[in-house]
Amino acid sequence: MFSRTHLLTASLFCICLAVRQGHADELDGLSLPVQTLLQQHCIACHSGPEPSGALMLPEGNSKLTDANRRVWEKVLRRLQNGDMPPASQSPPDPQLTRRATDSLTAALDHLAARKPFAGRTESLRRLTRTEYRNAIRDLLAIEIDAVALLPADESSHGFDNITVTGLSPTLLNRYIAAAEKISRLALGRPEISPGGETFRVSGDLTQDRMRPEGAPPGTRGGLLVDWHFPRTGTYQVQVRLMRDRNDEIEGLHGRHSLDVLLDRHRVQRFSIARPPAGEDDRSVDADLTASFHVTAGRHQLIATFAEQGRALIESDRQPLNVHFNFYRHPRLAPALAELVIHGPVGESVSGESESRRRVLTVMPATPGQALACAAQIFRPLLRRAYRRPVSEDDLAMPLRLFHEASAGGQDFEAGIERGLAGILASPHFLFRVEQAVAANTVSVISDPELASRLSFFLWSSLPDEELLSLAEAGRLSDPTELNRQTSRMLADNRTNSLVENFADQWLYLRNLQAVAPDARLFPDVDQNLKDAFRRETELLFLDMLREDRSVLSLLQTSTTWLNERLARHYGIPHVVGSHFRRVVLDPSWQRGGLLRQGSVLMATSYATRTSPVIRGKWVLENLLGAPTPPPPPGVSDLEDNTVAAGLSVRERLAAHRQNAACAICHDRLDPVGLALEQFDAVGRWRDHEFEQPVLAAGGLAGVGPFVGVDGLEKAILARPELFVRTLTEKLLTYGLGRGLEPEDGAAVRQIVRQSAAEDYRFSALVRAIVRSVPFGQKE
């Protein structure tokens, strides 16, 4: 497969070179194969007073110009995807299509070389909630709960960092409140009032056979939180237990030990048992409050139960994995519902947190030195926060706030706290600012702008010291240096954001939380399974990133990551315990790449059944870059309404496609999704549905018919450049923070070509993106 890929791209590359050596004048005209193809297969529909899809194609000799390249990029994409001409028409000769797309590609690339397209990225862009959280972490060593502090960002083009130009009063108000809160936490001054936070556990989390990720062995269930304790002093932690629909504590059989652990050391053990007769369950957890001493800074707090060993569940049937529902599958042991941190109570001191160390780098010996010390503190903070060299003008605002709040330097820390709040509320921190360029010109972005583009792309956070220094020295844009920095950044743990921020959005993993399979049909689904689904896919992506594998390994891999819960769901034996580990797969298990993972399969299903339509749409959109338009208005919703319910989904869809208006898109969508029919709505393998064998015959436009997930994977990998193109487009959209235009096609093709030369390794893709025209330039 890989060698085939090589040949294909290599030949593409050669043609491209050959054409470039020709005469410029000839290139502007469309080549003979293109004209022939258009004449024979396209013009009939795309001409006249009402051309199909409002696309009018030229007849005869026509010229490719800067003005119409948008149209030709679209034509090229449809031809490459194989979805034009439609399946109902006679297909063109593959050789002809090939020659036409090759020459069209060459011509478009040549035009792009002469007239690069950089695209317009907004020059004022607000940090997203995730970026804000990471920036605070990197700047002040404070982990904040950004979800509680800031509203969610709107998503467009599949990502939440695109529509970020607005600033509503509510959002501004919350930014200011957040700035005050964070600066208070960072300094931990005595004025801080006892505060705290409430953490809740999802009601459908089975806590019987699981350990939260990071909790020590020998524990069961509960919750793990990382929290910034603002001062050194005494804190109280109150826990409450999960109740059933009758307000009774669930699973309260026998005696249990509930432990509160601080940094994995036990600070309190509670004994839990049934209340004496005459008292209701309220008395059991009315006062489970632990009091203990904590030093300022970030600590890990765990509330969990001591593991008591397991009894076999006696059941006539295969026991379920889930235990949270009073009627169907009750909890076998008590579970944690809520954890409240409160404090500091009583005497407390500021202590020496990492945040204070980072901020208070100097202290004035006399009040006379206060202002100078404050300036010394603010300068590096401003530089990191504003991501560029700072001027005296930048310094004026925090110093003014410092002066105001410190009573002329008397209360030094109060002044620093205010100045810091000012920096965090400043638009220079909250907004990424790029200098706009004159209309219709393309120019290279500045080195500090490049540093931010890099760090927000790869880390979803601020540039670090090294990037800033290089940018200030004007050396970051040097190609060798840029390459070196990209490699360094990829090796850094902060690229976890590419998993949690990019992959989660690209692959719809964020939607998993909202999926709720029908509890009668699929009783064996709980929060644990959803978490495990998400984790498996994240680890697949993370492994590709860390081991620098080919991006094609996302689709085809011989190993995966499992924990006991997920392995049981998949029917894979001998995986014990809550932690994820790499498992070498037996082909008969039918697991592996993205198309075989429960996350994707469940996120693309309905509550009661699979949806080949949604699955097909997901594959076409996210793996092949061939989206279909939404159904036209007035078309009846779906097969449930129009066709009898006793039929298999396949039969219902076939009836649906009888309607010509539906068939245009569903002829493309359905066969792709139908190939995945052997996975049910919660991602389990099945051979039968309604006592009939499941048929997994499918097909893909431009490839032809095939069977099952094996066939679909092969069909996608037969044209790896389409998958890589799609991933490139997704990464570029995310990295630039703008939707791509058809004119970006040339840059995308160049990235794909360059990464092909390195076996489509992830790092090759990223490095090619970073040195591409849209990433390094603007217009």
Partner: protein, 436 residues
């Protein structure tokens, strides 16, 4: 946490809090009703001790309603209301249809479907001018998901308020979360004022920074910064209003609650205190409060009932069990009565706070032993500013939809609908003077 008599302090640290001073133009304008509250009690009642013997004019209150004696002239008891759409008699549908009067789609999955509830219809209009369009409170920390009662999803049993037929609103049982939702972090009035001033100066800094940024930008981005400055001015106005409010407000003091009080009555009183504060400060004009959930197995040792509530209500006509159900019914009423009294003792706009709110108290189940939805226990309180006629017992001869009452309440707060759910008219005699 201190009990109900706590010193209460309106902590207006959060700049979201609007002016409380100009109440004459807002919720409490004379002869205007603009606030609605709903309190839910589960599993019906013992009718023998609930239903007043008096026709029309309330003179002696039956045992369960006796705690309402101090506010007798501000309440009306309604007998004979029903919820047809709650059948077939279940706990889930009792709760779900109480404020929606709609039929719940029987499902355990997330394709649940009910109807927009009366409080949310009110909130869509009344909530436009307040910080929170509505406030949803409850007493039980319930995270129950999936199937709860006879094939009905747990949301039907957990959620009283639905902002659309498919959007159940979660309710908050934790006093501290409610407090922070309403008031931010709180604090004494001095500290609050200082905090607001600090925030105002921070905002000045932000405005200056935007102006400084603007100079470096092109025309299109300059225009965008001008839009941001509008947001800055808006926040500035909110802070000014809040500053004015802290200066003038005579509200009592309340520390930020810490945990959940161990005693049911203390917890409930705290939740009522928070409602009062929210209404008084005009932070919201619509409140729902689920005092206990359907099928709750809570015991009430405070009043000597050691048996769990739900099994007691399946009393099988055992007089001892019925007496205990009545005890629980009376206990719930007594907590509501204390709340009404405290509203009555708070002057507002030439009357009392109670005059300017309209509260509906009741259950979606009638006789719990039968699981029926007939002759629901219902009390309407307050509303004198809208000419509510208190001291009444209205008895309907024919079973009458509860939706008729919802329609009437909406009408009284200025929302006029032709019908609501299965309503077939308004409730006569509640607001009109009737010769007694």
């Amino acid at each position: 946490m201190r009990g109900a008599g706590v010193a209460l302090g309106l902590p207006l640290l959060d700049a979201m809090v609007p002016a409380v001073t100009a109440q004459s133009q807002t919720a409490a304008a004379e002869q205007r009703l603009r606030r609605l509250g709903f309190v839910y009690i589960p599993m019906g009642c013992d009718h023998s001790r609930w239903t007043p013997a008096d026709q029309l004019k309330l003179q002696t209150l039956p045992p369960i309603l006796e705690p309402l004696a101090p506010v007798r002239e501000q309440i009306a008891v309604l007998s004979g209301l029903e919820l047809r759409n709650a059948w077939p008699g279940t706990h889930a549908t009792s709760n779900a249809s109480f404020l929606s009067a709609a039929r719940a789609k029987r499902t355990e999955s997330n394709d649940y479907h009910l109807g927009t509830t009366v409080d949310q219809i009110a909130a869509a209009t009344l909530g436009r001018e307040t910080v929170l369009p509505s406030l949803e409170l409850s007493m039980d920390l319930i995270a129950a998901v999936g199937q709860c009662d006879n094939g009905y999803a747990c949301v039907y049993q957990n959620c009283l308020s639905w902002s659309s037929p498919t959007t159940p609103l979660p309710s908050e049982p934790h006093p501290r979360m409610v407090f922070e939702q309403l008031f931010g972090e709180g604090g004494k009035s001095e500290a609050r004022r200082a905090a607001l001033q600090r925030r105002a100066s921070l905002l000045d800094a932000v405005r200056d920074e935007f102006a400084r940024l603007r100079k470096t930008l092109g025309p299109a981005d300059q225009q965008r910064v001008d839009e941001y400055q509008t947001a800055v001015r808006d926040v500035e106005r909110r802070i000014q209003r809040a500053e004015g409010a802290t200066a003038d407000n005579q509200l009592p003091e309340l520390d930020r609650p810490r945990g959940v009080p161990a005693l049911y009555s203390e917890h409930a009183k705290l939740m009522f205190d928070l409602q009062k504060l929210a209404l008084q400060a005009d932070l919201t004009r619509v409140v729902t409060f689920q005092m206990s959930r359907e099928t709750s197995n809570r015991t009430y040792p405070e009043i000597g009932v050691a048996e769990p509530h739900h099994p007691l209500t399946h009393h099988g006509n055992d007089p001892e069990k019925i007496a205990k159900v009545a005890q629980i019914n009376r206990f719930h009423v007594s907590l509501f009565a204390q709340f009404l009294q405290s509203l009555q003792q708070t002057p507002e706009a030439g009357g009392t706070l109670l005059d300017h709110v309209l509260y509906l108290y009741g259950s979606g189940m009638g006789n719990p032993n039968l699981h029926d939805h007939l002759n629901l226990p219902i009390v309407v309180a307050g509303g004198a500013a809208g000419r509510m006629q208190g001291g009444r017992h209205l008895q309907f001869k024919e079973p009458t939809p509860l939706a008729n009452l919802h329609l009437t309440l909406l009408d009284k707060v200025g929302i006029s609908l032709d019908s609501f759910a299965d309503s077939h008219g308004k409730v006569d005699g509640l607001f009109e003077p009737v010769a007694v």
